[in-house]
Symmetry: C3
Subunit: 253 residues, 3 copies
């Protein structure tokens, strides 16, 4: 039974929260999940970090996270590396062997033609993976070449090709990328344009910083899908969603 | 017996250090306290995070911290939520059931009239809780409406009403709030004005950032009461207090 | 056997990575090393933090790190404190008793004449310690008094006096110090001047921030020696070195 339950005015929130694991130890995760395990449902082993694990350790961590109904996947960088090396089939096989149950299709660091992109989404879906795709370039200069219309079109086409969730790139820093300016502030006009032209239920905003999380929660409601959440900020984000922190207190009554 | 004891010129410091717990696992805390447990005496479960715990876990963590003579309490936000919902009595009862031995009375996110504020401080004291009060608004615009005189008066009146410790709001960020400007630098004139008109022993400065800790230590001495210290920076702060880091080395000989 | 090994194009990197421990618990370190233990080889108990440990705990941590072939030492601040108090011999004896196998000779916070500096390096070498020296002042104003030529001369003279590794000061913040400007950006001209006049194999750059790590890796190659790496960023740095993150992907093929 939860503590102070008589003070919690907000019922359970139907949302998606994706958390970033940059290389945590097994025991640290196990210890944390006893508190945090019910407050997020997607876990990303950031970019190519999974390569640095012994197979047994990553299998164990996948099992641990999934015991809390948290889906696990590797950052899109690893998919891109596999594609670049013509090893997509080996990649999906290894994901399966290691116990991942989700996958991210992206082109943040490399160029991937549309045919390949959509066939990879299809392949992932057919193989039974929960399939996320990501829109945006990791290099800010390249990312800025996208117009708002480009971004909206790319998102909607991924959705048409049955991606379970489309992520708007925000990186770990949340600065000078996607909808964020150099200081990490949300560009409100771009946010609105995307919001008006895209189905929100399948859209996830990478929002590593607290001010971004607050902005997106106050704009779209406390059930907005948020990603790249720092592992140490899971509880903080949930309190923002529930109006249990000064910044959002009284906003969802 | 301590390592390198022959190099420690500073005897034990009689001070108050309040550390912020944003949702740590039990084992992580237990492991850390073997090193850090003697270097702080107050622990705040930040803002409303306590609501997200199972009762058993928060009881266990309270017991663990208190076994090191560290007083535990929930952030003031939870008190304000209880007050807003007319559930102050249930709130104090729950604090007791869960094993907290301190409480914070604040009005950072809501408006609370003076009569209620002081009667809550009294109620907390009568119930045997170590009672902290906080002065300052979490919303920077509202916080800026306070003149220095206002702040000094509010602090002194809380002390007259027997608060054990009065905290100057600094939030987790330490920016654009209280005595800190937008970059987190200390506003020296406001600091001096408060310093000259308030009893230092019962005053605690929330000082989450290292530069703020250094500034306050060099201004008031190494026994200045500091709060909102990051859990990972407990040892760092203690080295600053003892002149064991470049920034303060040789200042307390 | 490593996961996704068929995607790792970069063979093992012959380099030095120094990680900062600001006061971690034993179990936390033990848990982390199962993943990170092969990706760094030098561990610094920051500045004077070692004084705050019970002897047993620091002995245990030294043993734990060294079981992964990671050399351990205390920050130079402790050496400087010992020198200031005329307790250099007791200091080396205590290092030995506590199981450290490396030592840092520095003058970041105090003034030490050349004779003493070089005799201490010699004493450390003779006693069998892996010996690091550091060039730079912790106070930015004092640090700025060094010309590039000064810095180059100091580095080269430490090398002539047989320091195993010479560190360029970057502090924990990486800002307004050494080769970094106030925003933490690398001053490219100073970097180049040092690079052209100093033996790279024995030179280590303190580079706490990701952007600095990227800059130095792209300038000197993925085997550049880097220090003051945050304990939580060990895996992140290794992915940068191996081209497994967007910022360096495809740069070392």
């Amino acid at each position: 039974m939860r503590a102070f339950e008589f003070l919690d005015n907000v019922s359970n929130i139907n949302t998606n929260t994706m958390v970033l694991d940059k290389g945590l130890g097994y025991n640290t995760v196990e210890d944390s999940l006893k508190l945090t395990g019910n407050y997020f449902n997607l876990l990303k082993f950031g970019w190519g970090t999974s390569i640095l694990y012994e197979k047994e350790l990553i299998k164990d961590k996948n099992e641990l996270y999934q015991s809390y109904d948290i889906k696990t996947y590797t950052g899109g960088t690893l998919f891109e590396l596999a594609n670049k090396n013509n090893k997509i089939e080996e990649f999906f096989e290894e994901l399966d062997n290691l116990g991942f149950n989700a996958v991210e299709i992206s082109d943040g660091s490399t160029n991937i033609d549309e045919t390949t992109r959509y066939s990879c989404i299809e392949m992932a879906k057919d193989a039974g993976f929960y399939t996320l795709s990501e829109v945006g370039k990791k290099n800010p200069q390249k990312d800025h070449e996208y117009s708002i219309e480009d971004r909206i079109n790319l998102i909607n086409r991924d959705m048409e090709h049955n991606a379970d969730m489309v992520i708007v790139e925000g990186r770990e820093s949340g600065k000078n990328i996607g909808i964020y300016d150099e200081k990490g502030n949300v560009k409100e006009d771009e946010l609105q344009a995307i919001a008006e032209n895209v189905k929100q239920q399948k859209l996830m905003w990478e929002a590593p910083n607290k001010s971004q999380q607050i902005d997106l929660i106050l704009t779209f409601g406390n059930d907005v899908n948020l990603g790249n959440v720092n592992f140490n900020e899971i509880i903080s984000l949930e309190t923002l969603r529930r109006g249990l922190r000064g910044d959002t207190l009284g906003k969802f009554d």
